[in-house]
Symmetry: C2
Subunit: 140 residues, 2 copies
DNA sequence: CTGTGTGCAAACTCTTTGCATAAGT
DNA sequence: ACTTATGCAAAGAGTTTGCACACAG
């Protein structure tokens, strides 16, 4: 189920220094209304237009980057052509369905990584991404 | 040290159905001569030109994809703008230095992943990628 | 009103493609 | 000779940017 948010979107935006404009509120609604999502800019833009919010593509790009900097969403590096944005910023990992280019959450409790290696001198770990790539089973 | 290869590059290419042309041999030499590497197309192209092999950018793209299909190298999805190629196709994971955009190998023996989740019905795991993103330590 | 945000179109980066020329076998 | 590869330039996808107009406070 979609997890309840602490405060209304307007307030969350304001706290991030973002004025709650029509477009930003509409995009945030689409992003956060239906639970955790994994979207490309193109997909969100299409949803917005379909939903009767004729936002421009450039604004979707800008907005998603602003949301990312504000920590409301995060970027996923699953394949090197499109950028995917994840509305779940908590610690978790992903399945990626090859061919379909679909991203699925893996609940963090399911994975344990042991023996995390020492980062090189002068570096610290910013974050650990695990991507499990899936393909259809071959039936033998 | 660079690990010894089983057969000369010419032969490896031929076994993959690739004619050992000047450009392909030169690129393979650059890729495999100095141990495991993580390169973008641009970087390899520049190396080749510097080394006196005036190969075109398009050919580097084509060649790296052919090598990838042949299983000689593999693609890394570390960030969604450039494609990185890894000359080490064995099972291992990566550090990614943010800011510098540098990729480093993590010896596989250092990481153990427990409780790999069940893939969804009809899917099987093709491969597991772990990317540990690094940033400079903050000195407090 | 004043300062931000938005939309559009143009620019930019990375990558792929088509076709004539060159190289491999 | 015959086939495949290469190079160039043009096209294509995704993304960013500059500037005039519109909106929020």
């Amino acid at each position: 189920m979609p997890h309840a948010h602490e405060m209304p979107i307007e307030t969350r935006l304001r706290h991030s220094g973002l004025r709650p404009t029509r477009q930003r509120v509409a995009l945030a609604d689409l992003l956060f209304a239906k639970g955790d999502r994994h979207l490309t800019v193109e997909e969100l833009h299409e949803e917005a237009v379909t939903a009767g919010v004729p936002v421009s593509l450039a604004t979707v790009y800008n907005t998603l980057h602003q949301f990312t900097e504000a920590g409301l969403i995060r970027v996923l590096a699953v394949e090197s052509s499109k950028t995917y944005f994840d509305t779940n910023v908590s610690d978790h990992h992903h399945f990626f369905v090859e061919g379909e280019n679909r991203v699925l959450d893996i609940p963090v409790s399911n994975i344990a990584i042991d023996n995390l290696p020492e980062p090189p001198e002068g570096m610290e770990i910013a974050n650990v991404d695990v991507i499990i790539r899936l393909r259809p089973c071959r039936k033998d």
